[in-house]
Symmetry: C2
Subunit: 395 residues, 2 copies
């Protein structure tokens, strides 16, 4: 039944339907007239706006401001706070408003991204790099949330899996990148904040990356799944504060090698050898990467440690690492085709740890590439690095 | 490499690592000491808290308050606003804080749910019904975001697909429920706010529902995908305000029958007959359901129209509906095993529309079940209804 003709005749009805359903859909008080925020100007400068007639102070924080600085917004006669900032470098950023001291998302922006407990509004500054993170008009892979049994932890845990365009229609087997998040994050970080699926879609469409499966597990031992996906009865409101066990117990690394990789190799069409396995991770995930390949030196041909390293005041860690690297250097030489260490410049808080750790790698003549880019300990660096790393895989 | 022993020896280092990585993971100013909100008491009363020493007024809004009423919170000596509310009925709710007039999520609660532009914090009040919406320790189906080609619209569009536990390990073919959202929503509404995947997991685990695939497309014509998933270059910040075209052009219904169902039947192991197809939707999605089965009366054996109906002042719609139902009544009688209309009681804004529409169904002796439950035009009704509807399918 096509109502087009009927309704074209009746503009009054149209308006009524619209209003009724707007109320209907939301079942909440009618919002004030819409304002635009953020508004990106032709020169990429950005105006942010918040209607807050009763507020005394509104500030703008965000990753486009150096050090997430909070900038004062100015209240106009309509009770709308505004600020215009100079054009940030084309990239993806996240931001918040601070309303009389309380951090909030931008209610005019329905694009919200989450990394662990950090829930922020999204800002895309147009440009070539940003286009690579965008949902473009190219074939898209599927993104699937999967629960897998973890005998190591004795529970089911959740992970997110990207299968490349064409996976469902072919009988081909694919290589796999295991991609790990940082402290406080979860299995949704690399898609929500990292845009990993769109980066892969775009690189594959451009012929720059091989079609591959990307497996994004949850590396926080204390939580089997992202906040909205775990049992409220067991744990409703606990924030993803850093779980020390996640970083240093060695259990997660054990689960990765013994639970996750076997699950993927059993349930997906993947090529089951080191040449077709890659392992990358950031910050805490970089420690997971290092621990995993040092325990399993014959497992991965491609390795990327982002913004991570051994803590320089942990002498024992350096001594045991030195010993272990001596033992496994010949195996790594046979197995590893590309090892990469990435840091977000000297302003990356993991920079010195990473540099010091690499001296131990140097001592054992383990080959690697050191990649440094400005941006500090941030998703701007990690997204950018994935874009450079993915094309080097499985070639 | 297992660092457990080394680190057990060094508590000071442990603390340092923790602090360093907390900063590292977030690269943002250190937050104030954590407060708990919401805190559910043993009797299910709830205390909400917000640290806001600089704010003058903080209110609590939410679906647990009748009419989403805003209740004043009281500031204590530490600058924390608090309120304690009586135990809401066990169920899932969403709420917001209103800080000096600005609506925000609860920064102490990292469980955020989204329905279109409505981004709110989650509240689960323990009880039997809530347990059915919970992520329990039962086998979980996969939830996949899939882009499909839409020849009807000439673009790719995104949908969310639930495959039941065991789908990937079996060679069995499954029945399919097509489950549609309301005005302003998108393909993520039924999982984020509707908990459809967990409801199905739990019903299947209890033997109450047949294992089935659930397809949740995006019924907003103006947007091919949820906000974070569509191209920023084409459309970054447009809120999902109601698109009149989505409701009444008939194009979405055409796409459902000609794009979505054929895509599912080609790419998934499904049983391709009316007896194994169900169609359900709420509000605007209820109009999509009605329009779709009236255009394709031989396509679905199971139908559920939630909180919807023809607008009572649209005489032409009633006349054409009357004529069409007369034409298709014999086909519906042969095809449909179970037709259900659900309303959230007289307080549901679609109640009168739905009742008036059903008089036309009655005139043609079309059999259906009318289900009425308190709760108005709300997700509390729709989730609850899915729990009752799913067990009736494919038996």
């Amino acid at each position: 039944m096509n109502n087009r003709n009927q309704l074209g005749k009746n503009a009054a009805l149209l308006i009524m339907l619209l209003m009724t359903f707007q109320f209907a859909a939301f079942a909440q008080p009618t919002p004030a007239p819409r304002i635009v925020s953020p508004e990106i100007q032709k020169d990429n400068s950005v105006i942010f706006r918040l209607r807050a007639p009763e507020a005394t102070s509104v500030k703008l924080g965000g990753t486009m401001n150096a050090g997430y600085a909070q900038l004062d917004m100015t209240k106009n006669a309509d009770g709308i706070f505004e600020i215009k900032i100079d054009a940030p470098k084309p990239d993806m950023y996240v931001y918040t408003f601070i309303v009389d001291g309380v951090t909030t998302i931008d209610p005019s922006n329905n694009v919200v991204v989450r990394d662990g407990s950090h829930i922020e509004s999204r800002l895309m500054i147009p440009g070539k790099l940003t286009d690579l993170f965008d949902s473009q008009d190219v074939p898209h892979g599927n993104v699937t949330a999967v629960w897998y049994p973890s005998p190591v932890f004795g529970v089911s845990r959740r992970m997110v899996i990207y299968t490349p365009p064409g996976y469902g229609q072919s009988s081909k087997s694919y290589p796999v990148l295991y991609l790990l998040h940082g402290g406080g994050g979860d299995e949704e970080a690399w898609t929500s904040r990292g845009r990993a699926n769109y980066i892969l879609d775009n690189l594959i469409a451009q012929g720059k990356a091989e079609p591959m499966i990307v497996v994004m597990p949850n590396g926080s031992i204390g939580h089997p799944a992202a906040p909205n996906e775990r049992s409220y009865s067991a744990d409703t409101q606990t924030t993803n504060v850093l779980d020390f066990n996640s970083m240093n117990s060695g259990k997660y690394e054990e689960s990765l090698a013994n639970d996750i990789i076997p699950f993927i190799e059993k349930n997906y069409r993947v090529i089951k050898d080191a040449d077709h396995r890659a392992l990358a991770g950031l910050s805490m995930g970089g420690l997971h990467v290092t621990n995993t390949f040092m325990a399993n030196p014959d497992m991965f041909a491609y390795i990327n440690v982002m913004s991570s390293g051994w803590f320089t005041n942990n002498k024992e860690l350096y001594e045991s690492g030195d010993k272990r690297l001596g033992e496994i250097a010949p195996t790594l030489e046979k197995t590893v085709k590309y090892m990469r260490f990435t840091q977000g410049g000297p302003e990356d808080i993991a920079y010195n740890n990473g540099k010091a750790m690499l001296e131990v790698f140097d001592k054992h003549n383990i080959e690697y590439e050191f990649s440094e880019m400005p941006g500090g300990h941030s998703w701007n660096v990690w997204r950018n690095d994935l874009k450079d790393f993915a094309p080097a895989l499985f070639k």
